[in-house]
């Protein structure tokens, strides 16, 4: 089994009647990678995820997860899934709910017990273990759903909108848990509308539109080679600002501000020193990284792919 790829799909396609929901999805996710799956509404994200999970049969193409074909039952033992708008067996208590899903994973009872305790503690629901899910708030349900997805210590986890319904504390919890998963070499396939979440958690993202990957990129390359810097200072003479061009380009000069693009952060202290030495009063030198949102809009277009 090739250890390197957690997900490997080739021209995965789903047609509903005349309409192709997913035109041809080709993507690779490496083992241990946190992968963000982005795209406008109706881009075919949900159908794609459902095909990978074996919920929906692809019309054509192939896909393997953890080196095994989709739907392989042995492979499912090492997989976790938190569906979007997760709905529950709400007549169960938190503990029973996890017990049921752990049993379906085929976990030995003793291991399951300790794992349930550990996860209830981790998602902050220890005090609610005997409570029926019916009485849970949306955020609590999202937390128990997350615990469910991690019961079997999966090697690959699908999280579909894991932070929807969560307050800032809950969102931070999800973020931290994703980080822990990465440290444990678990691959995470993250579908989220919250680009800021993706930005801080993912290693790599793919943009999809009309059911095709139109761009895949490392997030570390998001602003490689260009950092937008905003300088606020008083006493900027034309001579001083002209001298700034040795560190960067695209200078936009205002009365008390300069906007420019530099190629490395290391230029910032030099710029500051230069400005001070030439008698300017420096209030701020602020780097502005290119945001994922800008890349998103640029990639999928303002119309959102409609």
């Amino acid at each position: 089994m090739p250890e390197s790829l957690a997900i490997d799909t080739h021209e995965l396609r789903k047609v509903f009647g005349e309409q192709a929901a997913v035109k041809g999805l080709t993507l690779q996710v490496r083992q241990g990678e946190v992968f963000g799956f982005l795209g406008p509404n109706g881009a075919g994200k949900t159908t794609s995820i459902k095909m990978l999970l074996g919920l929906v049969a692809p019309s054509s193409g192939r896909a393997s997860l953890l080196g095994a074909p989709v739907g392989d039952r042995d492979m499912l033992r090492y997989m976790g899934f938190l569906p979007e708008h997760f709905r529950f067996q709400e007549w169960l208590t938190a503990e029973e709910f996890l017990e049921l899903h752990g049993q379906l994973y085929g976990m030995p009872p003793r291991d399951l017990r300790s794992r349930i305790n550990e996860l209830l503690e981790r998602v902050g629901l220890s005090d609610f273990r005997k409570k029926l899910l019916r009485t849970f708030s949306k955020g609590m349900l999202q937390r128990i759903g997350l615990a469910q997805a991690l019961l079997n210590r999966p090697r690959l986890v699908f999280l579909d909108e894991p932070t929807s319904g969560l307050d800032p504390v809950g969102r931070r919890l999800v973020r931290d848990m994703i980080r822990e998963l990465r440290e444990a070499d678990t691959s995470v396939f993250l579908n989220s509308h919250l680009l800021s979440e993706i930005e801080v958690t993912c290693d790599r993202v793919a943009f999809i539109r009309h059911g095709e990957v139109i761009r895949a990129m490392e997030l570390s390359s998001l602003d490689a080679g260009q950092i937008n810097v905003l300088i606020r200072a008083k006493g900027l003479s034309p001579e001083i600002t002209a001298g700034l061009s040795q560190w960067g380009r695209n200078l936009q000069i205002g009365p008390e501000t300069v906007n420019m693009i530099i190629s490395a952060e290391s230029a910032m202290p030099e710029i500051t020193r230069y400005l001070v030495m030439h008698g300017a009063e420096v209030y701020a030198v602020t780097p502005k990284h290119a945001s994922l949102e800008e890349v998103f809009i640029e990639t999928v277009g303002k119309d959102g792919g409609l």
């Binding site: 459902k50 049969a57 499912l76 569906p83 067996q89 049921l100 085929g106």
Partner: protein, 288 residues
């Protein structure tokens, strides 16, 4: 096998937690109370009339026969109602199970576990079968007990009769589940009760056909039974439990004249298995 068992337990637990069991129990007890009261007065009347008519004359020998016939007819009436309620329970229990969980999404985390879809269907089937067994034990057993305590009467072939009624409930439940794997709960309910109605009217056409000795009517009834053999099971059950005299005399409201053959019972068993296989097949192929 383990997975089937887990799903069966889950199904049973769901029925308890969603108060389906409690509701069935309370309403079932209400049914039994009303039935027992009704039996008490009607059977009392039969006994008094029979002994008044015979009045110590030579006809006295007939009295116990009249009592037995009366008790038997009232018993079959009770069992017929209990059967109908069991069938309604069977249809309702299973109607929402697969379709409901697909549309709500609760099935998604189950299907993505290392479990066969077949095991989900079989597990749920087993859970419902157990629930229906309990329900029928209460309703049918309660009816029999009530008659036995009041009249000291038990019909022949009680176990065969109850088994056939249980078989009928299982059949309806299986059909309901198969429909539910493809259609919404509402559509499933419509189909199942539609089929039940077809079986019901087919059964009566066959009965009257037998009384009037009209072979065409009998054939219509048999064809209806082939389409949906539920009513045939009830009529076989009634045949097993009715008194020999009732069989000879012909039509009683809740007994039977035209008796479904054992071949029909075997056909029904195949029918049930095929329906279950269809439920599995449809659910396996379905996009969720």
């Amino acid at each position: 096998m383990t997975n089937i068992w887990i799903l069966a337990r889950m199904t049973f637990r769901e029925a308890i937690r969603r108060r389906i069991v409690a509701t069935g129990l309370v309403l079932g007890l209400c049914f039994l109370i009303i039935y027992s009261i009704g039996f008490h007065f009607i059977f009392g009347q039969i006994v008094r009339t029979a002994s008044a008519v015979s009045g110590g004359s030579a006809l006295a020998a007939v009295t116990p026969v009249a009592n037995v016939e009366g008790a038997n007819t009232l018993l079959l009436l009770g069992l017929y109602a209990a059967t109908f309620l069991s069938i309604a329970m069977a249809a309702l229990l299973a109607a929402d199970t697969l379709s409901g969980e697909i549309s709500s999404g609760t099935i998604q985390t189950i299907v993505t576990k290392p479990i066969r879809r077949m095991e989900i269907v079989l597990g749920k089937w087993l859970g419902f079968a157990f629930l229906l067994g309990l329900y029928l034990a209460l309703m049918g057993g309660g009816t029999l007990l009530s008659v036995f305590l009041q009249a000291g009467y038990l019909p022949d072939h009680v176990l065969a009769g109850l088994s056939l009624i249980y078989f009928e409930a299982l059949l309806i439940m299986t059909i309901s589940m198969a429909c539910s794997s493809a259609f919404s709960a509402l559509a499933t309910g419509g189909i199942v009760f539609g089929l039940y109605g077809l079986a019901f009217i087919g059964g009566w056409i066959e009965q009257f056909g037998a009384i009037l000795q009209n072979p065409t009517a009998i054939k219509v009834g048999i064809i209806a039974s082939l389409i949906i053999p539920s009513e045939a099971l009830w009529r076989r059950a009634a045949f097993e439990m009715q008194t020999p005299l009732a069989g000879v005399l012909g039509l009683s409201p809740f007994g039977t004249v035209s008796v479904p053959s054992l071949l029909m019972i075997a056909y029904t068993a195949v029918y049930l298995l095929a329906t279950l296989a269809a439920a599995i097949r449809v659910f396996e192929k379905r996009d969720i």
